[in-house]
C-alpha cells in the first residue's frame, strides 16, 4: 500500500507514539499522562472499563481533540494540532461506536465516499464525467469492488444502508474506512451490539485486513475475549491512567487489570 507522505516505515517500526498526553474537559480529567506506541503492522487494542478514557484517547489520536499536555508523534514527526480531515489525508481512518454512515446512500456509494480524499481530478472534469475523471472513477470503483469482495457484501451492493441490519452496517463502515487505504485504522468498538456469529465474522475481517492490506489497526473493545484473540499488544486504561501495557497474556495476568475490571474491596 502506498504511503501518503513522510518516510517509509518497515513493519515493527513505531508508526504512532502517544507521549505523556493529558486531556481534560473543564475539571474532569479524561486522560492523564498516558504514553504508549503503535507499531507498524500490528493490531493494538486499547481497553478499559466504562469511562476509562478509551474513546477520548482515540479522539486525540484522530486529531478531534487536542491534548492540553504531551504530544502525538506520527511517523516520527511531532504532530501539530490538526483537524480530523487532516488526520484523514495523513493516513488515519476510523469507524465509530455508533454507526455513522450516509443512511440513504447505497453500500457501494458509502464505500466510494471513502475514496473522496484520493480523487485528484478537479471538479470541472468530474462534472463533465469525461477523460481523466472517468478513468479515475473507474480505478476507484475497482478498488471499492475489491473491498466489497473482501468483505463479502456483494449482495447488498445496491441496498441503501439504512435498510441493512446492524451487523452489515458495521461491515460497510469498515469498508468505507478501508477504502481510504489508511496507514492506521482506528476501530471504536467494532463488535458492540453484535451477536456471536457477527463478532466472529468481524474478527475475521479485522484479522484479514491486517494481514491482506497490511493495515496497522488500533481498536477499542469491550469484549475481552475478542481483544485477547485479535490483538498483538494491549494497553489498559482506567480512570484516564495507563495501568498496563503488553501482550494479551501479560495483561490478562496483571493484578491491576483484574482489579480494575472486577473491582476491589476497599
Amino acid at each position: 500500500m502506498r504511503a501518503p507522505s513522510g518516510p517509509l516505515l518497515a513493519v515493527g517500526d513505531i508508526l504512532l507514539a502517544v507521549e505523556n498526553v493529558s486531556l481534560s474537559f473543564g475539571g474532569v480529567k479524561a486522560v492523564s499522562d498516558v504514553s504508549f506506541d503503535i507499531r507498524k503492522g500490528e493490531i493494538r487494542a486499547i481497553i478499559g472499563p466504562n469511562g476509562a478514557g478509551k474513546t477520548s484517547m482515540l479522539n486525540v489520536i484522530n486529531g478531534f481533540y487536542h491534548p492540553q499536555q504531551g504530544r502525538i508523534m506520527f511517523k516520527g514527526e511531532a504532530r501539530a494540532s490538526m483537524r480530523p480531515h487532516e488526520a484523514a489525508s495523513g493516513g488515519i481512518a476510523r469507524t465509530f461506536q455508533n454507526v455513522a454512515l450516509f443512511r440513504g446512500m447505497t453500500a457501494l456509494d458509502n464505500i466510494m465516499a471513502g475514496r473522496t480524499l484520493r480523487m485528484h481530478s478537479n471538479f470541472f472534469w468530474q462534472m463533465l464525467r469525461y477523460g481523466p475523471a472517468m478513468r479515475e472513477e473507474a480505478e476507484h470503483r475497482r478498488r471499492v469492488e475489491e473491498i466489497i469482495d473482501f468483505l463479502k457484501i456483494q449482495e447488498i451492493r445496491r441496498v441503501p444502508v439504512g435498510r441493512l441490519p446492524y451487523g452489515l452496517q458495521k461491515r460497510v463502515e469498515l469498508g468505507r474506512a478501508l477504502a481510504m487505504e489508511p496507514e492506521l485504522l482506528l476501530l471504536d468498538e467494532p463488535m458492540a451490539g453484535m451477536n456471536l456469529e457477527e463478532k466472529e465474522d468481524m474478527s475475521r475481517f479485522v484479522l484479514d485486513a491486517n494481514d491482506y492490506y497490511g493495515t496497522t489497526i488500533a481498536l477499542i473493545e469491550h469484549d475481552m475475549g475478542v481483544v485477547m484473540d485479535l490483538s498483538d499488544r494491549v494497553v489498559v486504561l482506567d480512570h484516564g491512567i495507563k495501568i498496563a501495557d503488553g501482550s494479551p497474556a501479560e495483561v490478562k495476568g496483571n493484578q491491576a487489570v483484574i482489579d480494575a475490571y472486577l473491582g476491589v474491596a476497599h
Partner: protein
C-alpha cells in the same frame, strides 16, 4: 442416424479441443468478479486448461487417479474438472456445504490424493479431518485470502500451478505433444466423473459415469431441446449434484453454450437477471420461494398496482397456458394477455431473470399444480423431467407442447423404461452409470440381470397422455393395518402445495391410521402473523401458536377432502397432526442435501412424538439435538400439541378399496 452434436468426440477433453476449434471466439464461461462480468472464450479456456493440466501432471496427478473438487460454481473449479479429465484423472465433486463428517467420508472413500478447493473455509474444513483422509497429499485453492500464513508444502494456489504449466510448456515444447497424445489416449469408456449421491437411503455412494455415455446422453437432450452455442445458462446449483454436471457442464461441452457463474450464492437471483439465461433449471422449491417472494411484495404494493397485478394474473391463468401451447384462444383473451404481458408478465419475468428463457426445467420433487401453472401462464416454458444420478440425470422429459403438472413426460430419446411387477420404474439409458465406486454389492442390488437400473421409485404410465407418473419411492409405499394403500409422499406433497406448509412427514405403514408431522413456512406464516398481529419470537413459538394450528387444520382438512375423492386413497386420510418445534434440517440428518425428508431417521429421532400421535395424547414433550454448521451441537426442547381431524365422507359409495 441419431443427431450427434458431439460429432465423434468421445471424451470431454476432445470436446474441449473441438469447441476451441469451431466456437473459438464464442464465450464459454462467464463469472461476475469485482462487480463486472468476466468472459472466457472457448479458445481462452483451452489455453488455461492446457497449462493447468501440465501443472497437475508435474505435481504427480496420474491417469485413473481421483481428485476432489470442493466449492461453489466458479470457473476455476470447472477448469479443474477439465484439467483433471485432460490427464485422464477422475474428478470427484463434493457439496460445498457438506459438514466435515460428510466431506471426510467422501474424500476417504474416493481415495483422493489431490483436492481442488475454493477458499480458506474449505481448506480449514479439510484440514480439520485430515487424519481421516490418509491419502490426501495436496490441496489447490482458488482464493488466496487468509491462506498466506498456512504451511504451503501441501498447499498451492491454482494460479501458481497454471503459471507453472505455462512456463513448463514454454521451456519444453515436447510437453505440448505429450499432452496432445494424452488427450487422444483418453477412451470413451474411461470414467469421466464420480458423483456422490446425496444418500436418501444411508451413506452416499459414488456413481461412476464414463465419458462416452455422458456425452451420448447430453447429445440426445441437446438435440431434444435444440440447444446451441448461442444459449446461456447460469450455474448456481451445487457442483457435486448431477444436475449441475449434466445441465451445465456436459450440455455446455456438447452444445458449446456459455455457462455463467454467479458472483456468490447470495447474489445468484440478481445475477440471473443480469445474465438473462436462455436455459434454466430450478427445483420446485426455488420456484416456490420466488413466487412466495413476489406475492409477499405484491401484498405490500400500492392499491392500483395490486389490483392490476391480480387482474392480469387472473387473465394469465385463463389464457396463458393455452397461448403457450399454441391452442385456440378467443381474440379478447389474446388482446388482454398481450396487454398483461406489457404491464405485468414482461416486467415480472424481467425481475425474476426469465425474460430470455427458452427452455426451463424443474425436477426432483413433485411440483404443485398452482405453482407450475403460474409460471407457465406468464409465458415461461417450464417443463418437468424425471431422472437420477445413476441415469446421468434424464430418464423422462416433457416435450414442448405436451405439458401436464402431474406427469414427468415420456421416456427421453434412446431411453427404455419398464414398470416392474411391484410398480417400480426401471430404465436403460445411454447415460447410465457403470457402477458404484468400490461397491459391487450395491451395484448388483440396483442392476437387474438384463441390464436395467432399478430407480426405487414407484410409478405408472398415464393412459391418457402416455406420460410417466411417479407416486412415491417404491419401498415407501405401504399399507395400513386394514389394507388401505398408503403412499406417504403422495399425501405429503398434497400438504406441501399449501404455502403455509413447508415440510410434511406422513406415517401410516402397518398402523391403524395416518398421522403427519408438519413444518410451517416461516416466510409465509411469518408474513401472515405480521398482518394479523400475532407476536412471536422464534420459529418454535410461531409453530406452537393456536391460531397457526387453526389455519393449518383447514389445510389438512382440505387434503382429506381431496383424498376422500379418490376411493383408493380415501382410507388414508389424516387423522391426527402436529407441527414440529424445529425446522427439519440437512445438518441434523433429517433431510438429504437435496432437501428430501428421511422418513425413517425422523421416525427414530422423534419416537416420543410418534408414540403420542398413536396413543391419543393431546401433547408430548420432546428434546432434540441440533448440529450447527461448524459441527457444534445444542439441544432444543419443547412441548408439542397434537390435533385430531375428523374423517371426510368418501365420495364413492362403495367405501374404501383394499
Amino acid at each position: 442416424m441419431a443427431p450427434n452434436a458431439a460429432a465423434g468426440a468421445d471424451t470431454f477433453p476432445k470436446l474441449l479441443v473441438r469447441n476451441a476449434e469451431i466456437y473459438g471466439k464464442r464465450p464459454a464461461m462467464r463469472h461476475k468478479d469485482l462487480g463486472i462480468w468476466q468472459s472466457w472464450s472457448w479458445s481462452e479456456v483451452l489455453d488455461i486448461v492446457r497449462p493447468y493440466a501440465i501443472g497437475l501432471h508435474r505435481l504427480g496427478l496420474k491417469r485413473g487417479e481421483t481428485i476432489a473438487i470442493v466449492g461453489a460454481n466458479r470457473p476455476k473449479l470447472y477448469w479443474s474438472v477439465m484439467a483433471a479429465q485432460t490427464l485422464g484423472a477422475i474428478p470427484v465433486p463434493v457439496y460445498a456445504d457438506a459438514v466435515a463428517d460428510e466431506l471426510a467420508f467422501v474424500l476417504a472413500h474416493a481415495d483422493v490424493r489431490f483436492a481442488a478447493v475454493q477458499d480458506q473455509e474449505q481448506v480449514d474444513k479439510i484440514l480439520s479431518v485430515a487424519e481421516r483422509v490418509p491419502h490426501l497429499e495436496l490441496m489447490l485453492y482458488d482464493e488466496k485470502r487468509g491462506l498466506r500464513d498456512y504451511d504451503h508444502s501441501k498447499l498451492h494456489s491454482m494460479d501458481d500451478i497454471i503459471e507453472d504449466g505455462h512456463k513448463a510448456l514454454a521451456a519444453d515444447p515436447s510437453l505440448a505433444t505429450w499432452l496432445k497424445n494424452e488427450i487422444s489416449a483418453g477412451k470413451g469408456s474411461d470414467p469421466s466423473i464420480i458423483l456422490y449421491t446425496s444418500g436418501t437411503t444411508g451413506a452416499s455412494k459414488g456413481v461412476v459415469l464414463t465419458n462416452e455415455r455422458s456425452i451420448r446422453a447430453a447429445a440426445d437432450t441437446v438435440a431434444f431441446d435444440k440447444l446451441t452455442e448461442k444459449d446461456v445458462a447460469l450455474a448456481y446449483l451445487p457442483l457435486a449434484w448431477v444436475g449441475d454436471h449434466y445441465l451445465n457442464y456436459a450440455q455446455g461441452m456438447v452444445s458449446g453454450f456459455c455457462t455463467a457463474c454467479p458472483e456468490s450464492s447470495d447474489t445468484a437471483m440478481h445475477d440471473l437477471r443480469e445474465i438473462g439465461p436462455t436455459f434454466y433449471f430450478a427445483p420446485p422449491r426455488t420456484l416456490e420461494l420466488l413466487l412466495t417472494r413476489v406475492m409477499i411484495r405484491m401484498e405490500d404494493a400500492g392499491f392500483i398496482k395490486r389490483k392490476l397485478f391480480h387482474f392480469f394474473i387472473d387473465v394469465a391463468r385463463r389464457y396463458g397456458e393455452r397461448i403457450l401451447n399454441g391452442q385456440a384462444v378467443p381474440l379478447r383473451g389474446r388482446m388482454l394477455y398481450a396487454i398483461g404481458n406489457l404491464l405485468v408478465y414482461g416486467p415480472l419475468k424481467n425481475v425474476l431473470g426469465f425474460s430470455r428463457v427458452r427452455v426451463a426445467y424443474t425436477a426432483g420433487e413433485a411440483i404443485g399444480p398452482d405453482l407450475f401453472n403460474f409460471y407457465r401462464s406468464i409465458g415461461l416454458n417450464l417443463k418437468q423431467l424425471y431422472g437420477q444420478t445413476e441415469a446421468f440425470l434424464y430418464v423422462t422429459a416433457q416435450p414442448d407442447g405436451e405439458i401436464y403438472s402431474d406427469t414427468v413426460g415420456p421416456a427421453c430419446p434412446n431411453v427404455d423404461i419398464r414398470i416392474a411387477e411391484n410398480g417400480e420404474v426401471q430404465f436403460k439409458s445411454p447415460g447410465m452409470f457403470t457402477g458404484y465406486f468400490k461397491d459391487e454389492v450395491k451395484t448388483a442390488e440396483v442392476m437387474t440381470p438384463d441390464g436395467y437400473v432399478k430407480t426405487g421409485d414407484a410409478g405408472f404410465f398415464d393412459e391418457e397422455t402416455g406420460h410417466l407418473k411417479i407416486i412415491d419411492r417404491a419401498k415407501d409405499v405401504g399399507r395400513l393395518n386394514d389394507g388401505t394403500l398408503f403412499a406417504p409422499k403422495y399425501i405429503e406433497n398434497k400438504l406441501k402445495f399449501f404455502p403455509n406448509i413447508r415440510e410434511a412427514v406422513a406415517f401410516g405403514d402397518k398402523r391403524d391410521f395416518v398421522c403427519v408431522m408438519l413444518n410451517i413456512d416461516l416466510t409465509a406464516v411469518g408474513s401472515w402473523a405480521e398482518r394479523n398481529n400475532v407476536v412471536y419470537g422464534s420459529y418454535q413459538e410461531l409453530a406452537g401458536h393456536p391460531l397457526v394450528y387453526d389455519m393449518v387444520e383447514k389445510n389438512v382438512a382440505e387434503v382429506n377432502r381431496s383424498l376422500a375423492a379418490d376411493k383408493a386413497m380415501s382410507g388414508a386420510q389424516i387423522r391426527r397432526f402436529l407441527i414440529l418445534h424445529k425446522e427439519l434440517d440437512a445438518d441434523d440428518g433429517e433431510l438429504t442435501r437435496t432437501q428430501k425428508v428421511r422418513r425413517g431417521f425422523i421416525a427414530e429421532r422423534y419416537a416420543p412424538l410418534i408414540k403420542a400421535l398413536y396413543d391419543g395424547s393431546k401433547e408430548a414433550d420432546i428434546s432434540t439435538e441440533v448440529t450447527f454448521e461448524d459441527g457444534r451441537k445444542g439441544v432444543i426442547s419443547a412441548r408439542v400439541k397434537i390435533r385430531d381431524m375428523k374423517s371426510e365422507p368418501t365420495a364413492a359409495p362403495m367405501g374404501k378399496a383394499a
